[in-house]
């Protein structure tokens, strides 16, 4: 299994770089992960609203929320999400929040 090191700690990731085990994640890792994947830093309070939501939804439902669900579950609009996590907010926010790749709908 591939590993990566953030904040001085080695973590297990999948081929795309998503965390395999969200309990290995710490808040200190988030800015480093963000830098690696082109998410603007320093992470703002608004970005943290999304990161916290990604984690609470993951632990509650077993998968990270989609872009639509993020905007329904918080006051962060889809437009703002694309500013905070450009290109692919659901994937990038999951990456920074240290949760596995969200299961796409089928």
């Amino acid at each position: 299994m591939p590993t990566k090191t953030f904040a001085g700690t080695s973590v297990d990731v999948n081929d795309e770089g998503f965390f395999e085990d969200p309990t290995q994640w710490t808040k200190e890792m988030a800015p480093e992960i963000a830098d690696e994947y082109g998410v603007p830093t320093p992470l703002t309070d608004r970005a943290w609203v999304v990161i916290d939501l990604m984690r609470s939804e993951y632990f509650d439902k077993g998968t990270g929320p989609t872009v639509r669900k993020i905007s329904k579950l918080s006051d962060v609009t889809t437009k703002e999400l694309f500013v905070l996590f450009p290109k692919g907010p659901a994937k990038l926010a999951a990456m920074v929040a240290g949760i596995p790749k969200p299961k796409g709908c089928i």
Binding site: T66, T78, K103, C105, I106
Partner: protein
């Protein structure tokens, strides 16, 4: 009469109708009263909508009366639903009637929400921007395509989940056939625009479908998240700033659950779908609420075949619940879709929660070819409508086709 239970079914589409008819056969009327509610009396054979824009089906062929599909002894109510009170076990209809229940079945499907995307229903709606996901849109698009001889047709899925996730691809394939048949294919550009990172969600099928798009000269744009549809300037604008010009945009709008769900505290999730146990089809909201079809939040396709395969498990489990017995039957997420690819051919995919679509044959080694274009699959798709009205809705089984996904006859059955 005192032990008569009351079942209320919300929605008289595929799931509600087949469940009502199967349960009516299982329980005598003095044991179970069945009431079913729908907001209109038009039951649309939804797979038929795909063919309407190309003049291959007419509205009167694919629409029948809802109440005529129901067996005797099922009480049909035509009204919109105002709300469900899950604490009081009671449904309030917009016509003012109240229906109390012992068991509730939610079968109200998914609702199109074009108004949720900026600009979509503004200027140009039904003139340059269409959807074929309802009869009005499909009919308007038929008239538009009929006069269209050159330009850029863009097919755009706004976001998942959508009903019948293969239908937009089928539309692209049929458009290629349609303009070729008309002799103007060289003057028409067709582009398929999706928020996904490939043509489809499942890797093996996605690869096959992508190469079909290439073979047919259809451009594929991936990871495009539409923020705005400008029907007047005729362009799609992505949240990331990318723009795609079009002459005709065929959009698949956002989907949500039925409107009354938002009005019913505790019933649905943030998109209006009902949290449902993947295996038993019992809601996670309350034990006496079951869910069938697109209304559920299952990680399965929102498709008629899924609803069909759910039917048997659902009815067994509802029967157990009504008799006070343990709920034991389990749905595996089985889906089976004919994908029309144009020129009188189609391919077939078969999958479930755990196993992605692969090649081989269905339902066994001597069966329909999987993940491969063939005429016999196209005929299968055409013949299915008759089975839908005369077999599936009345609750008859097809010999040899059970609800669980078969693995025999497949090339790489992967165990889950």
């Amino acid at each position: 009469m005192s032990d008569q239970k009351r079942l209320v079914i919300l929605g008289a589409g595929t799931g509600g109708t087949l469940a009502a008819n199967r349960l009516r056969k299982k329980f005598k009327e003095d044991r179970l009263r069945i009431d079913i509610v729908d907001q209109n009396n038009q039951h649309v054979y939804q797979p038929g909508l795909l063919f309407v824009p190309f003049g291959l089906a007419e509205s009167d062929e694919i629409v029948r009366k809802r109440d005529r599909q129901l067996h005797k002894g099922i009480h049909y109510h035509q009204s919109a639903i105002d709300s469900v009170d899950i604490e009081a076990d009671s449904v309030t209809l917009e016509n003012g009637d109240t229906l109390d229940y012992d068991v509730l079945l939610v079968a109200t499907g998914a609702r199109l929400q074009p108004e949720e995307t900026e600009g979509m229903t503004g200027p140009g709606w039904m003139e340059s921007v269409f959807t074929f996901y309802d009869m009005e849109g499909a009919t308007a698009l038929a008239a538009k395509l009929d006069e269209f001889e050159s330009g850029h047709v863009v097919i755009n899925v706004i976001d998942m989940p959508i009903k019948c996730p293969v239908a937009p691809l089928e539309f692209a394939f049929l458009a290629d056939w349609y303009f070729t048949d008309k002799g103007v294919r060289d003057d028409v550009t067709i582009t398929y625009v999706t928020p996904l990172d490939g043509a489809f969600t499942k890797p093996t099928a996605s690869a096959t479908l992508s190469s079909l798009l290439t073979d047919k000269g259809i451009e594929l744009v991936t990871e495009f998240n539409t923020g705005e549809v400008d029907g007047e300037a005729r362009k799609l604008i992505g949240f990331d700033g990318r723009e795609i010009d079009f002459d005709i945009a065929v959009v698949i709008p956002l989907h949500g659950g039925a409107a009354y769900v938002e009005n019913s505290p505790g019933l649905g999730d943030e998109l209006g779908f009902i949290p449902t146990d993947n295996a038993t089809l019992q809601s996670q909201v309350k034990p006496n609420i079951f869910v069938v079809g697109d209304a559920a939040d299952l990680p399965a396709s929102k498709a008629g075949s899924v609803t069909h395969f759910e039917g048997e498990v659902l009815v067994e489990n509802m029967e157990s619940f009504l008799k006070g017995e343990p709920i034991e039957h389990s749905f595996d997420g089985h889906a089976n879709c004919f994908i029309e690819t144009g020129f009188s051919k189609a391919l077939l995919i078969d999958f479930n929660y755990e196993n992605e679509p692969v090649g081989g044959h269905y339902p066994g080694p001597v069966g329909l070819p999987l993940l491969k274009e063939s005429r016999v699959n196209h005929l299968g798709k055409l013949m299915f409508q008759s089975f839908y009205w005369h077999g599936l809705l009345p609750g008859r089984d097809i010999p040899g086709i059970g609800p669980d996904m078969p693995t025999f006859g497949k090339k790489h059955p992967v165990s889950g």
